[in-house]
Symmetry: C2
Subunit: 169 residues, 2 copies
DNA sequence: GCTAAATTAATGTATATACAACTATTGTAT
DNA sequence: ATACAATAGTTGTATATACATTAATTTAGC
């Protein structure tokens, strides 16, 4: 997270017992129960995913957070979004959209215009250069998606179902 | 989360189609397939978990990363650990253990001693105050664990299995 | 023994994040 | 109309992160 994760991952190492995969990866570990292990596993895996992402995006000189903003903007293109729209879609409400947007503007990947109807708000939209950049990244995304296919489609569905249920409390 | 999350989470918003829970939570979203959705879901859920964690730990004036280090040290207590031992258990290899440890030392939660046998290395161990702090946090952890139990034990097992498999590529 | 390589940790620096405080503009109540 | 509240973004600041570089000590080769 932040998840990112690099997320921001936390782990718990309390014992020398070695069990399955997760325990091995973070060295001698024991969890209170499957639920706690699940929470750590989600955060650990998120960090793993985020790192893969970050390194492939690095070649294009953008961070995962910046990539996120660009994709959000492409999603509404050609309609612009105001800053608050971007923030609420970013999930990490803490992350500072103002500064993220400014970074992308400096790179010419998006443009900002004061909205005439409501001068408090700013209309933000992706530029041609931004679209081109995303297209180049998309073209490379194949191998990244292949990595995810170490699980079956049925397992992916099950994973999504369980995660949605976990958050529904 | 940011983690996490605050994790550090990235999302993809490209459409106005509304489907299940994850799509709703990050507003009008459509994914290429279940695999991509799974990756985003893991990172999003990690951020959600990290934020819950961060806010409960804030009352004790420590961050999730610092909490992680303390638990690692408790795990080996009373044997001290060197810095590299802590780093390799932290997963986020980027995070700077030197400075995290220094923060905790300033709070009196751990102590550092130059190792006599090998003066390059530093023996780090949790203090009584550190143990007491962890104990107080443990006492409050019940409700946090309860939150995780919105899924069944079987689902938690399945979640762990799928995540381990996902990373095994 | 002396030099080169490896190990262990600390530091520098640019960027990012968390969170509070602030500015500007618009909406609402009297 | 004026004052007060709500909305939309920006800025300040302390801390954290990423990553490269440096420093100190130990090990190994010759």
């Amino acid at each position: 997270m932040n998840f990112l994760m690099d997320i921001v991952v936390y782990t718990i190492i309390e014992c020398t017992f070695i069990g399955m995969s997760l325990e091995k990866e973070i060295k001698q570990e024991k969890f209170q129960n499957e639920f706690e292990k699940g929470a750590v596993n989600v955060m650990f895996t998120a960090g793993w995913l985020y790192n893969m992402n970050a390194s492939r995006l690095k070649l294009h000189a953008i961070t995962p957070e910046q990539y996120n903003v660009l994709r959000i903007l492409r999603g509404s293109h050609p309609r612009p979004l105001m800053l608050a729209d971007i923030t609420c879609r970013m999930i990490d409400k803490n992350s500072n959209a103002t500064r993220l947007v400014e970074k992308l503007r400096q790179k010419g990947l998006l443009k900002r215009e004061i909205c005439e109807n409501n001068r408090r708000q700013v209309d933000i939209s992706i530029t041609e250069k931004g679209l081109t950049t995303l297209k180049r990244i998309d073209a490379e995304a194949e191998s990244w998606l292949e990595t995810l296919k170490s699980i079956t489609k049925a397992e992916a569905l099950e994973l999504n179902r369980i995660l949605d249920k976990l958050r529904s409390s």
